[in-house]
Symmetry: C2
Subunit: 230 residues, 2 copies
Amino acid sequence: MSSSRKLVELFYDVVSPYSWLGFEVLCRYRTIWNLDLKLRPAFLGGVMNASGNRPPAVIPNKAVYMITDLNRLAQYFHIPLHQPGNPFEVMFEKGSLPAMRFLTAVAEKDTSGGDTVVEKVSRELWNRIWSTDQDITQPASFSEAGLKAGLSASEVEELINLAKSQPIKDRLKSTTQEAINYQAFGFPLIVCHVDGKPEVFFGSDRFELLAHCIGEKWLGPQPEKPFSKM
Amino acid sequence: MSSSRKLVELFYDVVSPYSWLGFEVLCRYRTIWNLDLKLRPAFLGGVMNASGNRPPAVIPNKAVYMITDLNRLAQYFHIPLHQPGNPFEVMFEKGSLPAMRFLTAVAEKDTSGGDTVVEKVSRELWNRIWSTDQDITQPASFSEAGLKAGLSASEVEELINLAKSQPIKDRLKSTTQEAINYQAFGFPLIVCHVDGKPEVFFGSDRFELLAHCIGEKWLGPQPEKPFSKM
């Protein structure tokens, strides 16, 4: 196994449950595979529009399958994912644009060097939408998620205001455009930089292959601490 | 690991390259996991129609991704898959109805007890369409595939005639309908019968999860002999 740090970018949107799986797996493997993991919150709606793709759930049989598939994967990967009461409303009517702008503001102010704050706030937002069936469209929701992630009340307020600014809107657009430039048609999109060349993986079901591409070994779900509290 | 034989059905169409991956993996794991593997040749076009699904390749970015993805998977799984010169013509214009009727006739006459002949002929058809870019719509093509699979000239002729009969057309429809009843929206569709309950998996990227569901362990690609000649 190589000892050099491997640059891996994860483009994701918290509206996407498969992105949550990909996010947790890559966070768990950050140390195991010695990854320089860059979290790239982006807007799935923009990617779907640009690529002309349709959400899988518009095909009834796919929607039915997704429920079973997500439940099995969540159990196998020890991720506390539970279907919201009305997934269609959550995914297609409410959407994630304000949430992803908020996360982009978090990314803008995250000076941890390892996307630590972005990681924590992303997880709290996923916990809301894909575990406890709570809103992720209102400022009060961002506030709760931010506080749970360890931010102070004043930091959260500043981020909520920042999220409405043009530079943050532009930054989210630009990150989304980067994913589109990698020919994204959905999320998660994982870009591994191998010998200076990007290897692009779509979805949360290519980790064994991804490991092979970066000269590492897939060791299965590797459950970790973050969810012991669940 | 359990010692009881596990009934697993694989619904597939030779027009589908991901089905080839699933087919080879399950054939390789037949002994390792003690599977009672039932090969169920069916018609993908019927499943797509019934479910209202569209082929992934109609989204340009998906088509581009599929090429990379299939190449990487084929290499990793040691399957001699190569893109045909004109995949769109092969998949959408020429199609696989006569080929799947021929395979259904093979299944009808396969008295090996372990789908041995169906397995060999399926592999030869996949080799034609997804490896050496040869036709799979004409009787001469079925004849070549059948002979390569070890059938005699007279057996092949009988099967080509049988493939045109109403009972074989009906059998293919009925197998396709079984897949639709499992809420298929594409192939491969893998149905594991676990404690009398069907666990349905779509695609060729859930083997680790499938292993977990049937109480077995995923051991990676497990390359085998069939392709040493390639």
